[in-house]
Symmetry: D3
Subunit: 154 residues, 6 copies
């Protein structure tokens, strides 16, 4: 059986935290799908096309990383993609409580999907897309927080 | 003195977690008022009438359970109803912090009202109305998360 | 059915936090058993007799409060006493996590026993028997933290 | 070197919790700037002028307290004001997680700015501007939660 | 490169929580070493031989699971075994804080070792070896909490 | 009035986390007393003399830093030293809950003493004396976790 993981998020924009976690998890899976969830009720700062293009640029040359988008529940997307793993990074106890709730619900809807949690290294554990957007909004410098491919495009 | 408890919430919709907690707390009180708080600034998925009808259907035959709605502060509603207890379920440490803040404020505004906290059983501790609405939105299956009376109506 | 609650602890010594919580919960139950758990592997500062005597003195005249001691699991003691409720105070998120674990285990061993959690008022939420013992050890003043019946005896 | 602290917030409105913390921190700094952050995407209950006027009234006669407003990132405002300290109150573990994230980001953008955290006393630890606004909205009594200068104006 | 994971613990005794997590993680790794840490300063309830025998019995027939014991730091043991992954279960926010600290330290001592965190299903999330030992000590029934191989031997 | 802070701890041994926090707090106070608490019931890895000598060596040349030891309650020691501030580092939500409890108790025993909390930078937030002792016990490398003055002496 192939080990396929879905790494879901809005990636608005992708951060160095996402990139670090993805690169560290590549050896563990046969394929990782970076899955951009589309939620029509939430406004994003960057368009779906832009967010997708950035991730593809960052992971160019990484054969086992794919970028897709999806609507609806993550576990349904997993089934469509034959993925048995959901990959998530956790930075704080608050993140943990959220992930636990979602993982338990996913498990109760589909027992075959496992959630794999990985930790950010300490120097990256304060970074999130939300924070990056706030710094951009406040006209601050995000060069330490996003990959250079994003930096060139914002 | 009668032991009257208010169980406040938006119940948008009522979940199996609410139902479980209410049924377990019935022996403790002479009357329990399921109190739907109306907050005109927040949009709900289901109308007040619909939410009320579902709860009444679920608790038909339970003589000590009433369903009401209210505006304004919960402690003011308690006073109107001669209720001395506010009943709340807690699932996580985050829930706890929130309940503590509210309970302390209520206590500082009215010393006679006690907050009684009860825990969800582990298999229900990931369920919330918010999550149910997200699953409905994502076209997922909520049959494990809401009582059958709600399931028939959504 | 009588509403009998067990309020378990080591009460080494009883604090104003315990007293406050007990007095507030008296109206809710037909009988409350203050249950001193005996754990032969843990050393206590005060003897069982002393701890018992203090609690009895504080609750003299409260007809529905009894003081007992027990060994073994709390849920087994509840069964012996025909108690359906375990009463616990929670002060912090850490307390909550601990109580949740114990309550879930108790529930999985005996479905008929409910755990009722009550909050300390903010000005009492830093007090615990552990802290009181440390202040006594450091020769500090505990007059704000223990009932006067204890203060006279230490 | 002068010790200048920035105390950032939206102060919508200033609460007795803010006032307590500011008064306790006055001896520690040569100047404290109460800094009202302007975020054009968030609606406030009171106008900037009103919020400013209240704070100035409360701290009239306190020579080392100034009230200013700013847009953009707090650390950029600190640099403009030659402030080396950001002063923040924390009430709960949730507050702590938030402050840690912000402090680490600020530190990674400017190593010279220290965040100083102070605790609220227990009886004030449930008060926040958000809660005060909700009580006002619910037509409750906020006289214990805001300074008298605010109470006269709402 | 082979994917070898170390699953460290004291397993005093192994619980159904450990067994569940191990079985779910088997597909992810080429080899999993259940690693019993020996700490001469901590007294265990069961001997090393007994704990080892139980785990071997439970995982008989699982070709990719090995049982070993070690002294000293877990990351040093990983190096000896050519393991690049440390596998850990997390049940609560408190567990998370502990695992984060250890994972960050391990990472700062050896960048090549990743910590993989997996969640317990809700019905197992209150079980730990510590709790099992306390129930055994209180003469309670642990049949829901340990595998049948352990139950026969205690 | 002089600003005198007490920085209490067991410093068994002093870590780079302690050193970082102390150096960053020096500009804020006229004098900082590094106060080694003596608790005759707890065994330490290093003798009081050794722990004291290391701290003195690290802070040689820092005129406003003193090293003392004390028994009994920290707030009593503060009074003896005319200190109005207790300085504490916090790394995690668990640390925060502990510090809040202690700070509230101290405040209820002496209103004039303020607790000032400072955060560790992320790369130091997993370091503690407890962890350092465990790594030493496991014969690991602590060169990143203790100042060079300690490293030469262990």
């Amino acid at each position: 059986m192939n080990k396929i993981a879905v790494f879901p998020g809005s990636f608005d924009p992708i951060t160095v935290g996402h990139v670090d976690l993805l690169k560290r998890s590549i050896p563990l899976f046969d394929k990782i799908i970076v899955a951009i969830g589309i939620n029509s009720t939430k406004k994003t700062l960057y368009s779906l096309e832009q967010r997708k293009a950035w991730i593809e640029k960052v992971f160019k040359g990484y054969d086992t990383v794919e970028v897709k988008d999806y609507t609806g529940l993550t576990i349904n997307f997993c089934k469509t993609e034959n993925a048995n793993y959901i990959l998530r990074g956790i930075r704080s106890a608050a993140d943990f409580e959220y992930e636990k709730t979602i993982a338990h619900l996913n498990h109760s809807m589909n027992e075959n999907i496992e959630t794999i949690l990985m930790l950010s290294p300490p120097e990256l554990s304060s970074i999130s897309s939300t924070i990056v957007r706030e710094i951009i909004y406040g006209k601050g410098d995000v060069s330490k927080f996003v990959p250079k491919e994003v930096l060139e495009g914002i």
